[in-house]
Symmetry: C4
Subunit: 201 residues, 4 copies
């Protein structure tokens, strides 16, 4: 139950974050023609990108917590820390969209992604430290190539935003697609463990 309530709260916050972003697509006060929608195209594109990012976080968060054996006070705060950075995504998204991907807005967007990635890594490490190196999560993560590649890529994006803004955008899109390729590591390990248990008498 302990774990259930943490998941319910996280689900609530993530559901609100993902839906609040749509409020940044402000109803235009024009003449009700399709031309009124044109200035909203960058806002819409930034919404799509952030929707995918929050979807990835929800997906991975879901797998990570389902493999944690218990929730200590430290895990609870590491989780809140992750939700804090993710809660800044709608602001960074809205600012980026409204200013048509201006360099500074790409810098901020990358910084929020970087801090969210770091917070996710902190939460993951906290659970592994608590459950031990033989835990389901530790095995599932394995070498954690995606997790290790993301922060350097975000930093590359932040640096690129000061120099070639379009490159920063391309990097953020690339990282999202890298994660979209379904992460079956944890699922596979859980299935293998279940199979091992079935074999044992």
């Amino acid at each position: 139950m302990h774990k259930g309530r943490l998941e319910a709260f996280s689900d609530g916050v993530l559901a609100i974050i993902i839906t609040i972003m749509v409020l940044e697509i402000k109803v235009p006060h024009g003449h009700g023609t399709l031309a009124d929608l044109l200035p909203l195209v960058p806002v819409f594109l930034s919404y799509v990108l952030s929707f995918i990012y929050i979807g990835i976080y929800w997906n991975n968060h879901h797998h990570m917590l389902s493999s944690a054996s218990r929730i200590s006070g430290v895990v609870l705060w590491a989780n809140l820390h992750l939700l804090f950075w993710l809660s800044l995504v709608p602001f960074a998204t809205g600012w980026m969209g409204e200013n048509h991907f201006a360099p500074a807005t790409l810098t901020l967007y990358g910084a929020v992604l970087l801090m969210s990635g770091v917070a996710y890594w902190v939460l993951q490490s906290t659970i592994i430290r608590q459950d031990g190196p033989d835990s389901v999560l530790a095995h599932a993560i394995g070498r954690d190539l995606k997790g290790k590649a993301s922060p350097p890529l975000y930093i590359a994006g932040i640096l690129a935003s000061l120099w070639q803004p379009w490159l920063a955008g391309a990097i953020y899109v690339f990282v999202a697609f890298m994660w979209l390729i379904p992460d079956r590591r944890i699922e596979r390990t859980l299935a293998r463990k279940a199979a091992d248990n079935r074999v044992a008498p």
Copy 2:
């Protein structure tokens, strides 16, 4: 539990979508007379229509997921894809209401309904492909007349919006009422399966 958390997240997003729409009915800054409410009548009517649509989606989504045997990574993303298009309903609703059902707003509204319908169909097909042609869902859907009739009707509405806007509105209202007639197919099939199991020794 896996399925429970997907439902909880979807419920959260749908609950927020349905309630966020009411924020488009902006408190009028007039003199506090009933006349201040008159300009809000089209906003209110569009809210009623969209509330019914989201209610139908929640209702059908609920039945569909309760008949799915398990949630794979693909189902998870097909579900997020559906939530993405539904999250655009409040924007399309607010734009349509504020511009008193102007043609272009009816085009957009129909397009969002069409994409949501397609996304629902993708989710349904993904679950059936995973659970097999003998699954509860496959039997329950049967010939799926409503599901097959909706996309052509939305397309008819989109085309009508360019020519006779009132006809587009009438089509969207008609589709909603078509779905409102309770869809007991899945309920019935589940009950029959339960009865069959009870008979078997």
Copy 3:
């Protein structure tokens, strides 16, 4: 599980309604002195009243559903119908607060309360019709004095708003306090049933 998801969705919508209302208390753009808060006093008072009303509805809804044996499609839509009218409470509250309880705003507030009360009664009757006159809910409701007294009182409030606005406000406050007196009918009946079952061999 069926029932659980209906409750979860209703909880989500009610939680959002109760929290969205606070967004009507707009941060004043003054000089940051306590005098800036004075114009917000009526907005705050109307928020308190509506918070209590939504709290009462959540409380009673909770008891009513926990005594329903199952959720049919009709109950599901009767529930959505109730949520629809309750979703208009934040709008009516904000309009009333901003216009310092002007007569027309009290009329609308009463009308929304009346429709919510009617929708609650419809939901209750639907469950009783489904579960039968010997159901837990039918016994618990008993003569349902509060339920029967509320609609006439709301109508009295609506009529009073056209004539003596302060009287309308007083009636709405009175009905809220009438319901605040804890409604232990269902709790008591459920406990008695449980006791009866324990006595039976």
Copy 4:
């Protein structure tokens, strides 16, 4: 289930409160340069502080309810009373941030914290009165040093805001950090009880 639905509703409200606050960080309509973000620094800092406070409340609320044996009507309303005061945190936060911690805004912020603290104490006392002096919660609370120290500190902050605003801010930050030190009292008592039960035959 009774308790589960109270927790779900509280989680929903707290999740919305914590996420609504981020809407006070309004997207700046400047030229999309980092300089546009400068005026938002106090808004951001007040957001961080309030996020921590709501996080603490969610954490403690979670432990308190998991140790309550049952939920009576009085507990239900004591819980709604707590949620009411916490629902004012976003407003107080936004006002404080926008006015760069002006004295009156620190007074209001302290008053909302004080009332929330009192409401938490009322809820805690209601559960202990119901479960008795030998209950898990009564043992876990023990001398409740933090709970007893907070209200006087909030009052000190409110008084300080009229005289030395920076001191008020420092006090609010101090109380937050005092609570951040993980409160393992209830967890420890629950674990001890479980151990006692395991020893008993």
